[in-house]
Amino acid sequence: MIPAWLSRLLATLRPRAHERRLQDEIASHLDALAAREASRGIGSEEARDRARRAFGSIESAKERYRDQARFRALENAVRDIRFALRQYRKSPAFTIAAVVSLALGIGANAALFSFVNAILLKHLPVPQPERLHVLRSSSGMVGLAYAEIERFRRDGAQLGTFLGSFPMDVSFSLGQQPEWVPAELVTGDYFRTLQIQAERGRLLDQRDLDAAAGNPVCVISDRLWQTRLGGAPDAIGRTILINTRPYTIVGIAARGFRGTDLLRPSDIQIPITRLSDFMPSFASDSRFDWRSRLFFLSTIVRLNSSVSASEAQALLTRLQRGWLQEKKLDPHETILLAAGAGGFSSHENMGKPVSILLGVSLVVLLIACANLATLLLSRTSARAHEFTLRLAIGGSRGRIFGQVLIESTLLAVFGTIAGILAAYGIAQVLLAFLNRTTPAIHQLHIGIDSEVLGFVAIIAGLSVLLFGTAPALQAARAASPGSSSAGNTRAGAGLRRTFVVAQIALSFLVVLSAGLFAETLRHLSTLELGYVPDEISAIDIRPASGGYAGERASRFYKQLVDRLRSTPGVRAAATALGPHIEGGVKMTIQAQSGERKYQANLLAVSPGYLETFGARILAGRDFDPADRSKDEGGFIVSEHLARSYFHGRQAAGNYLLLDGRKIPVVGVVSNIRDANLRDGSLDTVYQNVDKLLTSSLTVYVRCAGSCRPLLPTIRKTIHDFDPSTPILSLVTMKTEIEGTFSTEQALGFLSMLFGGLALILVAAGLYGVLSYSLTRRTREIGIRTAIGALPADIIRLFASEALIMLALGTLIGVPCSLAAVNLLRSQLFGVTPHDPGALLVCSGCIAATVILSSIAPIRRALTIAPQQALRVD
């Protein structure tokens, strides 16, 4: 037994079978009626008449039967769709142009929304993520100390539970070749706060932390369990090597859980009290109590349902001030609570750029819609006869409105399907760019999921309303009797011009942002670096993960540098503290006399570092490896700083004033820009890294010529030197620098793509309007020419139409886009949002587009001969 709706649906899709049955039944009924009359002795003509009378209106019976048999509204829609498809097949150029412009608009939006969704809108996969709040301190300090969190745990328990986390890559080994795995060092309430369950085994708790030096245990992610341990059930209790130390796996975290930062997933959680395995120089320094002096833990609180964020903020601030006073530290700090549903995922890097790109692509979609509206309005005007005819033979205005709207919807459907395909391509491009700054972006599962599809459905629906309503209304109106009349077409022309003006105005925003981002990119890529980035490569390698600490670590680096120096093709090698990218530590120096303060970057480097970067010693000398004194030694300053600090006085042999102490300057070196180009200053102070006790340095190598072909040799040299220490990264400085502004590259590339697209759409819209206006006015032009109008008059006629639209578009577009580009300020470099040059170039591009796209219609207008005017209907 099939339900009624299904049988009606089937009948709607296959109306013929039902129609035949109806035909046969009526025929046989009439025959039977006639036969009865005939049997009463009535003539066959008369009998048939009587039969028909008894039966009633055959047509009305058929109509009622059809209404019962099928869904008539759906049937009409199917018929309209078939008709629309035929229409589109007749004008493939129009159809392709319309679908492609919609596809690019919708595709760009879908792709960017998938990023915004993954970066900004995703929550940690934990219960009630909205209860989580990230703790920040007003001073902008990176994190809290372990002892501080312990204090909160003890005295702030009525607020909720607290977790602290320090992300760190660790070397992980099942006994063979170690590999780098992202991990987190965590506090005891980590899992309790997140309310994560164990997939297998147990999770970490306070007892693991409180044991002397912490229990050597860890929890691993389901992913690591599956990929490295094959999902084996005996993984619980198994011993693995983390930074060469044995650790026992006590549990597997719930499937899908990979730590507190979605942009940097972690696969292992380790008790923070095992710090000495990971940062031996800090943890083993007896003069330095890392528990209360190392402010390195990112902190999250899960508030109880009865506690408000402001209450928690007040109490935590009070607790922290008390604690800071106890520790004799600056107590002027306030704890701030920020939404923590997304964990520590930092969107500062990418959130803003992708949001900007999403905004720009929405504007491009608006332009595409306005463009489609113009094109469709022209088509409706051209089809006025068809609509009038349909109305005359009994079609309803509603059906004509519906028909035109269905045509628009059909375009949107094709555009959306093509758009989703385009979205994959656009997302790949963006991924390729962002991958260089944030490799973890691959972990985000950026893709076209149900949320993205929902968003696409919404924007596609809104698009249909935007570009489909006006043409449909126009068609329904045009279908009034005797309406090819001038009044209606003039209204249509006005609407079309309005849409073109809107396109021009909107394109200002898109083209101006493209110009600003292009300028930003140009400034970044032409900066004087002070070295040849392709000739230098940076090696991130941490002997601590191979089990070396303190003196052994420094020896490891020295021997590695010596080994590298003797490698063929290598001209120099040296080390520095921390990656060059981060530009060292910010420091403040006082002027020798007076109140003035200088900001500079403090970089700890080994002797030979400056030579490795090809910097010139302008005065004094480089650090001396033989210099073994235990004090801090001297500083080397950059030329830029020397000039502003010493005002032309001799720098070498002079001193810098730092915290009231005079630190001697041993040399002046040519400027080297650090790889963080954006806020990198040229004021740098170098200190000798050999004076510091550290177990984590970056090694730099300068090659004779490009380093790229030498990278495998370098890798092999390091492996031969110590196979047990994995290389964290080995890239040329060129790659590293490009990585730092890949976001800007993505912004520049995509915004220029969007800008070009906007200009093409404007050109297409204007061309369409002018061409249509030309066909409408052929007669007028013919007559004007006949009565003596000169080509200049004809040109004026059309040029003025185009120029008025340009002027109106500029008038609206410039102030609006100038207001909007203020939002881009934080993403720009070397150029302000209201840069007059950028605005001028942008206006020039748009004006050129308008002029170029009106040339062809105007030239055609000039060739119209008076005779042609007569042939126009």
Binding site: M1, A4, S7, R8, R21, L22, D24, E25, I26, S28, H29, D31, A32, L33, A35, A54, F55, G56, S57, I58, S60, A61, R64, Y65, D67, Q68, A69
Partner: protein, 112 residues
């Protein structure tokens, strides 16, 4: 026009079901004929309106139909009542009786 009355909405369904229950499988013409006879031509029935009604009953699953041959060797579609149709008929009959009962009582009351 006294004597002839319009068919109340829904009553046609009831009469068709009853006819099919009493007489067994029947074609459209036969049903029309039967209704005409029983009502002594008192019903204003355009026979053509029977077919949308038959289709509706069939879609609801109360009757089924198949092609067959009529008494005078013609191809005709025969309708027969289904199990669900019988159930529906019983329910509708009860409804109808209750309804006519109420109407009769009201009318009787109006006379007093």
């Amino acid at each position: 026009m006294p004597g002839k009355s319009d068919i109340l909405q829904g009553t046609l369904d009831l009469m068709v079901l009853k006819t099919l229950e009493t007489l067994g499988p029947l074609h459209g013409y036969g049903i029309a004929l039967r209704l005409e006879q029983l009502s002594d031509n008192m019903l204003e029935l355009n026979q053509g309106t029977l077919y949308p009604a038959l289709l509706r009953l069939e879609q609801k699953g109360w009757i089924s139909s198949e092609w067959g041959e009529s008494e005078n060797k013609r191809r005709a579609r025969f309708y027969s009542i289904t199990k669900r149709g019988r159930k529906q008929l019983r329910a509708e009959t009860a409804n109808w009786e209750r309804f006519t009962g109420i109407v009769t009582r009201v009318l009787a009351g109006g006379v007093e």
